[in-house]
């Protein structure tokens, strides 16, 4: 019933015309608050070469409330659980209405480049990461090859 806020239109326009490197985001045709997102794994990270699919939803109170974001592609990461939920403070209590879809996606990309096993969401992954970082990184690379190959 309510029209889409101007700010969402503006953000969408800019995401479509001028997406940050390695990131794409396009709204669904039938729901302009729902975005299909891809994020390329950052260079020099275990996710390099992978393309990760995410879904992003703007709740009715956006930008007062943060977007809801979830990984659709399986990923081996201490801050992302097997349901694709992301442990990122700006998606929770550190959200501010001055942040944007763009900044959220850039932060997620940065999170891929800097896994933080001390603030885990996926406990088993975080534990592996701490106990045997080499093996964990190898596992992350393997999953990237298996699941994030853009198919």
């Amino acid at each position: 019933m309510a029209a889409l806020p101007k700010r969402i239109l503006k953000e969408t326009e800019r995401l479509m015309s001028d997406a940050p490197p390695g990131i794409s985001a396009a709204p669904n045709n039938d729901n302009l608050r729902h975005f299909d997102v891809t994020v390329a794994g950052p260079d020099q990270s275990p996710y390099e070469g992978g393309v990760f699919k995410l879904e992003l939803f703007l709740p009715d109170e956006y930008p007062m409330n943060p977007p809801k974001v979830r990984f659709l592609t399986r990923i081996y990461h201490p801050n992302i659980d097997k349901l694709g939920r992301i442990c990122l403070d700006i998606l929770k209590d550190k959200w501010s209405p001055a942040l944007q879809i763009r900044t959220v996606l850039l932060s997620i990309q940065a999170l891929l480049g800097a896994p933080n096993p001390d603030d885990p969401l996926a406990n088993d992954v975080a534990q592996n990461w701490k106990e045997d970082e080499k093996a964990a990184i190898a596992q992350a690379k393997e999953w990237t090859r298996l699941y994030a190959n853009g198919e």
Partner: protein
């Protein structure tokens, strides 16, 4: 004059912040703690500001500039009596701990007072850059050979964005803002970028001049991503549209940009707009600002095409309902209501068994509540006094900024003549005629509402007593007059009063007022004081005959009697 009139003691700038988000937040946390200690002493030297303190005026500003206290409608003294808004709502402004002021006090300004206002500061930097630009023929030549495309490229690189491996734009902008806080005169990298670009002379129409475009991005609100409208400036010197900041304060007491703690809702309600910014915007973007104003008015009008719906409790026509409004979405809704010419909203119960706010279902029938008065609390919560006017059926619902809105259809009682005819035919008919009466009853229920034999015995909530199913004998009993139904109710109340049933005394002492004599009002009053489930009571809403409502209530009375005595 600058609006950076709040003086707060300087906090030592933080140093060596990396771009990692958690370090930024940790640093902000420290800064936030430091600032917290300073808020108690925040004072404003401007007499028209509520935070005015003569000491602040004395210590910050020493010159002969006098400030008129001209906006009397904006400046309210603490504990001031209610005012009547254009919408007719009695408005009690939030109480303030600070003393009232009236005096016109001469204020003097140091010639080199440092400006802290971040937006004004950015504008000044734009101007400085523009002034430094050489007016040589060389510059003209270069610009005339450059295409617009090159301009576009230039204008975008000031917003630093990192590649996949580096820090995100957000971090850059956060740290930039923090460096601005420490060094108000602005020597950050973004300004250097702009300086280089300033060497180009404008070509094309004024709309495309880089200075204008830079200015446009400087005066954009970080919340709505549009040109600042009614800009207000926080003590941390960030500017937002008044409405955007109010909405943000509904959700969090921190500044949207730098996350510092802000004083509460009450503070900003009495804070005047940033006149410097407003003057700049209205001078440079006169038409765009006027257009923005029209767009906002249109939006507010559109927002009222649908009825705002408060999903909370049971309300009836003629009965008072007092609400404590604390949820952010309803704060916004109430503000919009009282600013409009129709200060009312629909009240419906949430539908049974739905949990999550936002996704929760709502009941189909509700009551329109007229806002009588609003007592604002300093933190933006409010106590809202309402009285029910009419019932409605929710035909269609949607969502506006988090709260429910809907298209409604008003439900009125049948006419007194119809009511009389109904009573007479009921009394005249014999008991074997009840099939026909059942049909008549159907017609008086709002279409789509509960049928004549609703399933009683709903799950009770909070001490309410579950109702047994309406028995066949109760349905058949049509031989009582409406007055007799009322008498049964009254004697029930008397019986309880004499036995001093504690729940009744409490309910009567609450806000339902004295017992009405009109059958319609009496039916709602009676329902409200009865100790039964709200969803059971809600069955009265679609019934368009006071007589039939009373009949249902008498059934409740009889059920209670049989279970108690």
């Amino acid at each position: 004059m600058s609006s950076s009139h709040i003086h707060f003691p300087a906090v030592p700038p933080l140093e060596s912040i990396s771009d990692l988000p958690h370090e930024i937040y940790a640093a902000q946390q420290r800064q936030h703690q430091q600032r917290l200690n300073h808020w108690s002493s925040v004072m404003c030297p401007i007499p028209t500001c509520k935070r005015y303190s003569p000491i602040a005026a004395d210590t910050i500003l020493r010159s002969d500039v006098s400030v008129r206290s001209d906006d009397s409608n904006r400046s309210r003294s603490s504990g001031s009596p209610a005012e009547t808004l254009a919408s007719g709502v009695l408005y009690y402004p939030p109480p303030s701990a600070l003393p009232a002021y009236t005096a016109e006090i001469p204020i003097r300004m140091e010639p080199n007072t440092l400006l802290l206002d971040i937006t004004v500061d950015k504008i000044l930097n734009l101007v400085k850059t523009e002034l430094k630009t050489p007016f040589s023929e060389d510059a003209y030549d270069r610009s005339s050979h450059r295409s617009h495309a090159e301009y576009e490229d230039d204008s975008d690189d000031s917003e630093a964005e990192a590649g996949p491996s580096g820090s995100a734009a957000m971090h850059t902008s956060l740290s930039r803002d923090m460096s601005n806080l420490g060094q108000p005169s602005g020597t950050s990298s973004s300004h250097r970028n702009k300086r280089q670009r300033g060497a180009l002379r404008p070509v094309g129409s004024p709309d495309e001049w880089p200075f204008r475009r830079d200015l446009q991005s400087v005066i954009e609100c970080d919340v709505c991503a549009m040109m600042l409208f009614d800009p207000v400036t926080t003590p941390c010197q960030h500017s937002f549209c008044y409405k955007c900041l109010s909405r943000s304060l509904d959700h969090s007491n921190r500044c949207p940009v730098c996350r510092q703690d802000l004083p509460g809702f009450a503070f900003f309600q009495d804070h005047s707009v940033n006149r410097v910014l407003l003057a700049v915007i209205k001078t440079v973007f006169k038409d765009a600002y006027a257009e923005r104003q029209l767009a906002i008015e249109r939006e507010e009008r559109d927002a009222l095409l649908d009825t705002p719906i408060f999903v909370c409790t049971l309300a009836f026509p003629g009965m008072p309902t007092i609400l404590h409004v604390f949820e952010p979405r309803y704060r916004l809704m109430i503000r919009r209501c009282i600013e409009s010419s129709s200060p009312r909203f629909g009240m419906v119960l949430p539908s049974h068994g739905t949990g999550q706010p936002g996704t929760q279902g709502v009941m189909e029938y509700g009551t329109m509540l007229e806002i009588q008065s609003v007592q604002m609390l300093p933190d933006g919560r409010s106590m809202v006094e309402t009285v029910g006017s009419y019932r409605f059926k929710l035909l269609e619902k949607g969502n506006l900024d988090g709260y429910t809105v809907g298209r409604i259809e008003r439900i009125d009682d049948i006419t007194p003549a119809e009511e009389l005819a109904l009573e007479q035919s009921s009394l005249a008919s014999s008991s074997e005629d009840h099939t026909a009466l059942g049909l008549a009853t159907d017609a008086i229920l709002d279409a789509g509402g509960p049928t004549t034999t609703p399933a009683f015995g709903l799950a009770s909530s909070g001490g309410a007593i579950p109702m047994p199913p309406l028995t066949q004998s109760a349905i058949d009993d049509e031989t009582r007059s409406t007055e007799e139904y009322m008498t049964i109710c009254r004697s029930f109340i008397d019986q309880l009063r004499s036995g001093s049933a504690p729940w009744l005394l409490q309910r009567l002492n609450n806000t339902y007022g004295t017992m009405p004599t009109d059958p319609s009002e009496f039916s709602y009053w009676m329902a409200l004081v009865m100790p039964i489930d709200e969803y059971e009571k809600a069955k009265l809403l679609p019934i368009r005959s006071p007589r039939l409502r009373l009949k249902l209530i008498v059934h409740w009375v009889e059920s209670l009697r049989s279970s108690w005595w």
